[in-house]
Every structure is written in C-alpha cells, then in structure tokens.
C-alpha cells in the first residue's frame, strides 16, 4: 500500500538547515496497523505529513497504492488526499460552527457526493463511532473523546485507503485514549490500513507493528503481539 525509499527532508531556518528525515525506507501492506514511535522532535509528524501529501519531501520515492506521488500541484494533491487519505489530528480540528454530522459530511462534499447521500453516510459513520445521537451537536458540546471519535468518523467517511493519525490520543486522558484506540482497532479489524503516530508505549503496543524513529532514521521496525484496548474500557 505504502512504499517509501530513501526519503529525505530538511527544514531551512534562515541560513541553517535542519535535516529531519535522513533516508527513510519502509513499506506498509494493506490492513496493517502501524505505530510510528519516537521522542518529541524525532520527525514523526514530518513523516506523516509527507505521507499525507500535506508536505513535500526533498528527495526519495513514495508510492501510494501503486501511484507515484511526486511533483504534485495543490489541486492534484487535494484530489489525492481526498481519494486516498483520512486524517485524524491530536487537536481534533473539527470546524467549530458545524454540527458533528456536518463535519463528518465535509470530505464527502469535496468528493462531490450528493447532499442526501452525504447525510446518510455521515449518520452511518457517526453510528459506527457510537455518536449517532450526537449528530446535531456542535463540537463545543462534545467531550474530548467524543470530538476525536467525530474526527475519526470524518476520516472514515471518505472511505480512504489509508488512515493517518497524528497523536490521536495526545490530548486525551488514558481511559478515553483506550476508547479511541479500541475504535481504531475495530476499524483496522474491518480491513483498513492505519498509521498512528505516538510517543506513548502503551498506545504503540495496541498496534500490530512498531516503527521506531530516532535522529531521522528508523532504528527499529518490529511486528508485535497486539494488546487489545477493549479490556481496559
């Protein structure tokens, strides 16, 4: 699903340049649940942003579902994002003046899905994350865990090939973190490919594979025995 070869990225800061990714190589198969670990500032988000086409690499190859991703203009990147990817952010990034259902329906709007179908799908995915009854509520009326579940429903609504989650539990307490991980596991059980950036070992242990980043390179990449989150909730 994802193939990355010798990926480099540096940020220019005035006359200095900060080499963040120094040759990343890794592949992700369909249906995997991968944790990207590393200490703060190790380049996890940078890698995820490049995978999400929100940022460009300096060199290296990137194939997504067999499509080479390079030299994209803004419009093309937007279309690929819409077609291939779903995003979940640490700070939820819901649009505060739209209801839960409207937030979930937004990527479908950009997929030019008709109004009725959008509404139906939004409700379906809210149902899946257990928030059907909260469909008409604004984000400000939801708890942190509920907001993240709405964000996950929104990421799912576009039916992406890959779900990218950057510290999805970073702003939540442990109980709600496990609820969110439980949801992510169930979505993965259904066959979705998911990448989760985290620096918390217990969250990483709930994935099926851990990729460890340090100083811009992968220092460890191992399959693990998944810890199920539902035993904690």
């Amino acid at each position: 699903m994802i193939e990355i070869k010798n990926l480099h990225k540096s940020y220019k800061m005035g006359s200095n340049s900060l080499h963040v990714l120094k040759g990343i190589n890794f592949n992700v198969e369909e249906g995997e649940l991968v944790a990207i670990m590393g200490s703060s500032g190790s380049g996890k988000s940078t890698l995820l942003n490049i995978l999400g086409m929100l940022d460009n690499s300096d060199s290296g190859e990137y194939n997504l579902d067999g499509v080479p991703i390079k030299d994209l203009n803004e419009t093309k990147a937007a279309r690929y994002r819409n077609k291939f990817l779903g995003f979940v952010f640490q700070s939820f990034n819901l649009i505060n003046y739209k209801s839960a259902a409207e937030n979930v329906a937004l990527p479908l709007y950009y997929q030019k899905v008709g109004r009725k179908e959008r509404q139906e799908k939004a409700l379906k995915y809210l149902e899946q994350v257990g928030l059907r009854d909260w469909a008409s509520h604004l984000p400000s009326e939801l708890s942190g865990g509920q907001k993240q579940r709405v964000a996950i429903a929104r990421a799912l609504a576009a039916e992406p090939k890959v779900l990218l989650a950057d510290e999805p539990t970073g702003a939540l307490d442990s109980t709600t973190s496990y609820e969110v991980m439980d949801l992510i596991q169930k979505i993965n059980d259904a066959g979705n490919t998911i990448l989760v950036v985290t620096h918390e070992p217990d969250i990483a242990d709930m994935c099926k594979r851990i990729v460890h980043l340090k100083d811009g390179v992968i220092v460890e990449d191992k399959k693990i025995e998944q810890v199920r989150a539902d035993q904690y909730v």
């Binding site: 929100l54 937007a78 003046y97 709007y109 950009y110």
Partner: protein
C-alpha cells in the same frame, strides 16, 4: 458553480460569524449610504439652481443703456444713452432670424388703490412679447395685446398677490384700479413659478406709460429672446453682434464698457452649468475616495477573517478542498455580504431621500433624488468592490499550507 451547497456553506458561515458579517456589511452599507446621499444632494443642488433660473426664459438677453466712459465720434464722455421705440424697430430689421421675442421695458413704482385698499408696487410697462420672455402665466383674463399697445389703453395685468391685497375675494377682471391716481382697467391676473416677489408686480402697455411720463418714445431697457435653436456659442456670438451694432448706432466707442450693457442669460447659465459640473466631478471624486476606503476596509476585515479561519481552511484542504474551492468560498461570501449590505444601504438612502425630498422647499435645494442609472452604477460598483475586497484574501486563503494551518504551535 452556483450550486446549493456553496450557498449553504456561505449562509452557515455568515450565520455563525455574526460579528464579522456585521462589521463587513456595515462598512459597505455605510459607504453606499453616503454615496447615494451625496449624489442625491448634488442632484438636489443642481435642481435648485435650475428651478431658480427656469423661472425666466433661459434664452433671454437684456440690453440696457448706460453712460459713456470714453469720448468718441465727436461726443464727450459721460453722455447718457437713451433707447427709443425705433431702437426696437432697428433690431427687428437687423437681426431677423436671431431673436424670437422682443420687448421694451420701463419700470415705475406706483401706489395702487382699489376702494379702501392701497399698496405700493412696481409697474413694468412692456410689449406683448414680454409675457413669453418672463414666462408669465396668466391665471385669469389675458396679457397685454397689440391693440392695447396701439391705443395706449390704460389697462393692467396684475400679479396674484396684488389681486389678493387689493381685491380680497372680489374678481378683479374688468374692475378699475387707480395707479398714482389714474384709473386702469384690470384685464388679467398672472402668476409666476419663480417667486412670490414677481407676483407683487403689475404689467401695463409700454405706450401708455410713455404717454403718461412726458409723452416720449423713451424705453429703459430692451429684452429679447434669442433663437432657441442656438447653442451657447451662437447665442454669445449673437449678443456680441447685438452689442457692436447698438454701440455703432448710438455712437459709442467699441472699447467703451459702460455705454451699453448686454446681459445674456446663456452666459450666466454657462457659469452655473460649469459650477454644477464641478460639483458633480467633486462628488464623484469624494465617492471614489469613499469606495477605496470601503474596499480597503473590507479587504482588511477579510484578511483578518482569513487569519481567524486559517485553521478551518487547513482542515478543509486536508480533507480534500482544492484551492479554487477555497477561493470560491471566500469570494462568494464577500460578494454576498457586500452586495446585500450595499443594497440595504441603498434602500435606506433612497428611502430617506424620498421621505425628506418633498419637504425641503428652499431656493437652493430641490428634489434630492437619485436616478435609476445612479442606482445601477452604485450596484455595479458594489459587486466590483465585493470581488476586489474578496480577491486578495481569497487567494491568500487558498495558498495557506495545510501543515502551517494545522500546526498547533
């Protein structure tokens, strides 16, 4: 492009951001309000000028004799010039196609008496043509005619105010009124759009007054109207020619400014036209300044809004919004807000003008309305302003990098 979804998005964002909608809308609405009020007022002033001058025929020329200031052709300076009946005959002969009406004029104060009522008025002794020259409107009876003139009848056409003063509720037509002790028969009552003062006047045949005042052929002034098909240059050329010929006839030096005065309405009208033209240009200039200020203001507000919405735009882009879709959203929103609030400002301003317009009755200001074309222009300017004000921030918004927008730092 104009699908329902984008309107829903726009209404949603307007509804949920009332303050910024109000701020944007207010600045545009206020700008248009001032614009329309300003144009309406200029219009009102213009109408005021026109009304004041329309009272008399606008193609009038007055020729008045003066006192020479230069010795010429064997005459000393300081010679008083006197027009006589044959001056009129001479002008009629010499300037056939140039004029339409011509009349002599003498003005004499008089004490008028009817029964026990008396009053002091000015009598204008004139020829029948004078009715047209001064746009005198007959309410009752008739104006002076050629028969009155030939027989030097003691007849009078009195103003509406004179009739009210002297005759109260009586019908004045056919009654005799005494002017300085001489009985005159009232043959008509007139009114004048221009002002009440004109209605305190009296007209009599000029021949009658010439007989009363020394049995002369003297006239104080000649009034005429030039050919209505003449434009300004032709009219001015005619009055110059008239002046030259009259100077030659009365043996006045061509350089003498004091011997004869020719006063041409066209000239005064030209001055007023250029003044109102200047006024118009000035107001257009002010309006442009207002609009620029408005556009800059809206642009600023929009940039501020985009800053505020950066995160939202980043989210939208992460979810797959193309740059054009972001531009569309911001642009349509600003066009919609500017258009609607401008329209409201327009309604308010035209409403106020329509309400106060009929109540203002001063000489210098009348009917301060705006024309349909002004409204159309204002609307077009509005839409353009909306586009301009929205464009820069829209492009800015479309260029927001999602990672920058989404970074929590």
């Amino acid at each position: 492009m104009f699908d329902r979804d984008i309107w829903q998005e726009i209404f949603h964002s307007i509804k949920n951001n009332k303050l910024r909608t109000f701020l944007t809308g207010f600045s545009v609405g206020w700008g248009i309000f001032i614009l329309v009020m300003l144009l309406g007022s200029v219009n009102g002033m213009q109408n005021g000028f026109h009304n004041q001058f329309n009272d008399d025929a606008t193609n009038t020329i007055f020729v008045s004799p003066g006192k020479t200031s230069k010795a010429y052709a064997g005459f000393e300076a300081e010679r008083r010039i006197q027009f006589k009946n044959d001056d009129i005959e001479y002008i009629k002969k010499s300037f056939g196609g140039d004029f339409e009406q011509i009349s002599g004029r003498m003005r004499r104060g008089t004490t008028a008496r009817y029964k026990s009522e008396t009053g002091t008025y000015q009598v204008q002794a004139v020829h029948p043509d004078f009715q047209v020259i001064e746009k005198t409107i007959i309410m009752d009876g008739r104006f002076i005619n050629t028969n009155d003139l030939l027989s030097s009848s003691k007849v009078a056409v009195i103003g509406r105010k004179v009739a009210e003063d002297l005759f109260k509720k009586e019908d004045p037509i056919g009654k005799f009124v005494e002017f300085n002790g001489l009985p005159f028969r009232v043959i008509g009552v007139f009114t004048d759009d221009g002002d009440d003062n004109a209605e305190r006047g009296i007209f009599a045949p000029i021949s009658t007054y010439q007989r009363i005042y020394g049995n002369t052929e003297n006239i104080d002034q000649i009034a005429l109207t030039y050919n209505t098909s003449y434009d300004l240059t032709k009219a001015l050329e005619f009055s110059r020619r008239l002046e030259d010929i009259m100077k030659r006839r009365h043996k006045i030096s061509p350089e003498d400014q004091a011997g004869i005065f020719v006063w041409n309405y066209a000239e005064a009208f030209d001055n007023i036209s250029s003044f109102t033209g200047l006024l118009n240009k000035g107001s257009i200039f002010v309006v442009i300044l207002i609009l620029i200020a408005g556009i800059v203001g809206i642009g600023n507000i929009m940039i501020f809004i985009i800053k505020e919405r950066t995160k939202e735009i980043g989210v939208r882009k992460a979810l797959g919004a193309e740059p054009w879709q972001i531009i569309k959203l911001v642009l349509f929103e600003s066009i919609f807000i500017t258009g609607l609030s401008g329209f409201i400002g327009l309604l308010f301003a035209t409403g106020i003008l329509a309400a106060i317009g009929p109540n203002i009755k001063t000489d210098a200001f009348a009917d301060p309305s705006v024309s349909f074309s002004t409204v159309v222009t204002a609307t077009v300017i509005l839409v353009i302003a909306g586009v301009l004000a929205g464009l820069i921030p829209a492009v800015k918004a479309a260029n927001v990098k999602p990672i920058v927008a989404l970074s929590d730092k």
